[in-house]
Amino acid sequence: MSARVVPVALLTSYIRELFDGDPLLADVWVEGEVAETFVSRAGHVYFTLRDTNSQLKCVMFKGFAQRQCLLPKAGDQVAAHGRVSVYERDGAYQLYVDAVQPAGLGILALQRELLRQQLAAEGLFDPARKRPLPPFPRWIGVVTSPEGAVWHDIQIVLRRRYPLAHLILSPSPVQGDAAPEGIVRALQRLQDDGRAEVIIVARGGGSAEDLSCFDDERVVRAVFACRVPVISAVGHETDWTLIDEVADLRAPTPSAAAEMCSPSIVDLAERVVALQIQARNAAMARVESERDRFERLNASLRHNSPGRTLPAVRTRIALARQRLDEQQRRLLSDGRAAVASQCSRLHQAIRADLNRRQERVRLRRAVLAALEPERVLGRGYAILTGEGGQPIVRVMDVSAGQAIAARLADGVVAARVTGADRQPLRAAEVAHG
């Protein structure tokens, strides 16, 4: 060491640089029991990890704390991941934690969980970006090993179910160190080829380690970046790898993936038949409705044809005429009755008039009869006449000594005038009456 006095800050930053330059300290999982947890107002979580004889100060900043399913609490046995660095103000080293998991998981599971959290935080697993699969894919890309049963199974399923498809195998090792790169290249080849409308990335069952290439960040990112929808089909139903999270659709098995990306030819054939029946029924219904319309028109035409309407018209005319006749007859008889009634009234009137006149004649006759000279003579009067029979009405008509005749009721008296005096005499009045 050089003979030189250094300030604290310089030494501390030297130590910090030592820590920060160490690859082991930059990425480490530490297991221990949680003690003394404390959450600051800003949301950072401070705690201590310890075992029998040692302890380690830990801090998890708010952003990391928020994405943990499990926050450390006193007494928990956990594995914490992060980097070890120096906090220069306190002159203390501490673990800057970015993930906490329960203790006892293997390192693979821990690594995967850490990656899962990081990628999820980046939005790679966002359900909103899952793309729908084409309903009738003509070109189906498959990334798998050409040697395995998986490739065989996919062909079997599609040959039976949807032989319309054209499979494009893009081979890749699916386990071992070469697998992640191989899968990434295989995906790229399919995209460069450009025909595949959907891609199945498949592998059969295996140990967690066998399947670990599908947890590889490169593979997950390649699937995320793939321009074509990807179906993941890795291992058995219970196996779950990160590619399942990023894929547009996760199939429990490779055979299931083949089914999920293709319609069934049996369903399609049934659909075609059903459509044919629908087409026939619709066309027949249309023709039937035309026929109905035609028949209605035809019936209406027949109904209105002259051959059919003439008799009807005749009947109507006859009926009308009949009614007319009746009317006429009724009018006539009404007329006659009226005339007759008028006649009888006339007769009656005439008769009444006649009667009245006869009555009047009778009365006059009676009066006349009363006035007849003979009748007057009956009441004591006399009619005087001269010798020539001329009536004597006035005194001057006679002269003394003149012979006159006086007619009485029952005969004539011959008499002689003894005197004639123009005196109003009662007798003369009587003779006048």
């Binding site: 309903p135 009738f136 003509r138 050409p146 062909q155 599609l158 040959r159 949807y162 032989p163 319309l164 498809a165 054209h166 499979l167 494009i168 195998l169 893009s170 081979p171 290249r185 295989a186 080849r189 399919l190 080829d193 030819i265 399609l268 054939a269 659909r271 075609v272 038949v273 459509l275 044919q276 629908q278 087409a279 026939r280 619709a282 066309a283 219904a285 249309r286 023709v287 409705s289 035309e290």
Partner: protein
Amino acid sequence: MAEGREETLDSALARWEAILRDGTFEQSLGALEEIVQRLEEGQLPLEGTLRCYELGVQMARRCETILDEAELRITRLDDSEQTWDDTPEDEPSF
């Protein structure tokens, strides 16, 4: 492509006839569905109905033929530039 509402019957018929000549299965099935829809709407004149029905029958036959004759084909894309194909170059369009 199935904007049937705006499309006249004549242009639809022309389009379906083109599909009948060299459409894919998906196009043929889609056309058949459109034809059935047109028929079921019942808005066509009688001649249009008969023409549609005739085309529909041919379209269904085409679908069935495609399904009957379909055979899974396989291509392999290898890492090296050469690609082998187990089907002839002049493959049918479906």
